[in-house]
Amino acid sequence: MTDPMMSTLPTTETGGGVVPGAAGPGAAGAEERKERSASLWADAWRDLRKNVVFLISCFIILVIGSMALFPKLWTSQDPQACHPRYSKLPPSWEHPFGYSVTGCDYYAQAIHGARPSLTIAILATIGILLVGGTLGILAGFYGGWLDAIISRITDIFFSLPFLLGAIVFLSLLKPNEPAAQVASITGVLIVLGWVTIARITRGSVIATRALDYVQAARALGASNARLMFRHILPNAVAPAIVVATIALGSFVSAEATITFIGVGLRAPAVSWGTMIATHQQYINSDPWLLAFPGGLLVATVLAFILAGDALRDALDPRLR
């Protein structure tokens, strides 16, 4: 007695007023699927390939990424070759972004400026995922005194004001080398940013842990490691991923802010933040000096956020 395999919207016996519909792919499409690979990521990739917003975001990210990795591909000018006499010359054919206030090629600066901004943002995001994610999972899974301790630590860190804390830490560290500056900014962002991921992961793990299929695996005799990595993590990770991609975007602007205030990257380092900081006063006279780095900043942040959204939707098998 085999049931015909049809995709139907889940309805329960007790469902009143259930919206019928959401006809899944017809029988023919469903047959196709059975031949393909079973990996969730492969399925997600197949969906993302068709998502226009995701593709555009990825494209922008790739562009910016290549600016960061291979700036020479984009410009042959040296951002450090500056002549005061060219100061604030408007955009022209050879110098599409014009010149900065100190007479450097603005376009070259913008291209080279991508690297520190992205490096800091990506490293910081990986950092908060590792630190916050681990602590969140441990707190959520084991509960009890471990959860109590981690949650109190989280609360303490949460109450540190972000900007103020960043300023204080960085003023104390006073890094001089550009490399040290990047490291310290990244470090500060991780220290102040891991709490959101921890909280979200903890909540997500607690919710997932109570679900029937996790209990079923426990009843089978699954070890804690298996429960955590096979059952809980994949289902609890989605909110953290979305937050992480948004965090990535906000780290890019956080770096710019910190630099703007003066405790972040400093000359001779060039980043979008330094560009905005240096040229803020020209907003009325030469607005293009702010528009270019600002535009790149906004585009990058937006691209990461939209890509993160699309990725989360694609990873959720129920939304198919």
């Binding site: 016996e13 919206v19 519909g21 006809a23």
Partner: protein, 361 residues
Amino acid sequence: MSPVAQTDSVTQTDSVTATDISVKPNGGLALDPTAPLLEVRDLKVDFRTRYGVAHAVNGVSFHVRPGETLAILGESGCGKSVTAQAVMGIIDSPPGFVTGGEVRFRGVDLLKLPEEERRRVRANHIAMIFQDALSALNPVFTVGFQLGELFRKHRGATRAEARKRAIELLDMVRIPAAAQRVHDFPHQFSGGMRQRVMIAMSLALDPDVLIADEPTTALDVTVQAQIMKLLADLQAERNMGLILITHDMGVVADVADRISVMYAGRIVEEAPVHDIYANPAHPYTKALLESIPRLDQKGQELNVIRGLPPNLANIPPGCSFNPRCRYAQDVCRKDPPPPQFTVDVGRTSACHFWKDVIGRG
């Protein structure tokens, strides 16, 4: 319920200046007291989703008389709740749209009324109770406040009067210590008590018809018995029409006068309760009856209805039950779908072969 008379004049749609909060404002509705209480004719509701159009309700007709209980019986996804929501006018639109038919309350077609008048009908003439009382009641207001609000809003009562009526209502639904419990919040009541509160809310303005959408499905069986008894008593007291929407064939056997069986958005059989159980005239009804275990029997073979109910965006042509039906022939698989055949007085069946199903001829 004794009318409360007051000499202050309060906004009323009638020209009466004394406030009598037990009198229903008519608001200009031309109700015809000789017309049937509630009559639904050929109702159609579609849901437009991005996967296609789901025909949730496909030409449904039924009626209810005062003091009578009509049960709309069907499994999940058959469209029975959507039908009730369409009658009440509370379908989320989009994605749901009423695309045809009439809902006549004492002759007035509710589907053609403007929303403001609809709202008045909803409160004063037709009421609805839902399955999950916890989500139907507002958790941040006390029960007394929510009950009283009905009187304040629809009958122009003062706060004191409203409070008094709220306590009376809680008493009426047999909640002990009503005067104290009127200050409690919904979550402070047990499941069965909350359902009583919801019943109280629905009956506050003395409706003529009550629609109960799976009112006891989420409750324990002893509580279910209490609630169904309460509903039966209140209905008898008020000579109210009751439309009971459920999938539970036991509850229906206990309380219904007539039954309309729904499948895939259509009514497949309508009959008085004794006839349907003794001798169903539609293969679906028959199959359902044969597939449920009974409390008073042991060891019977449970008949299985093979297959699944159809996807409402993709209903098979002809009779929607045909892929699962053991009586199906060619005529069943082609459009048009079977009409309502008259089996007997007050009995119809949407099956070409109802005679075989009944076992006659």
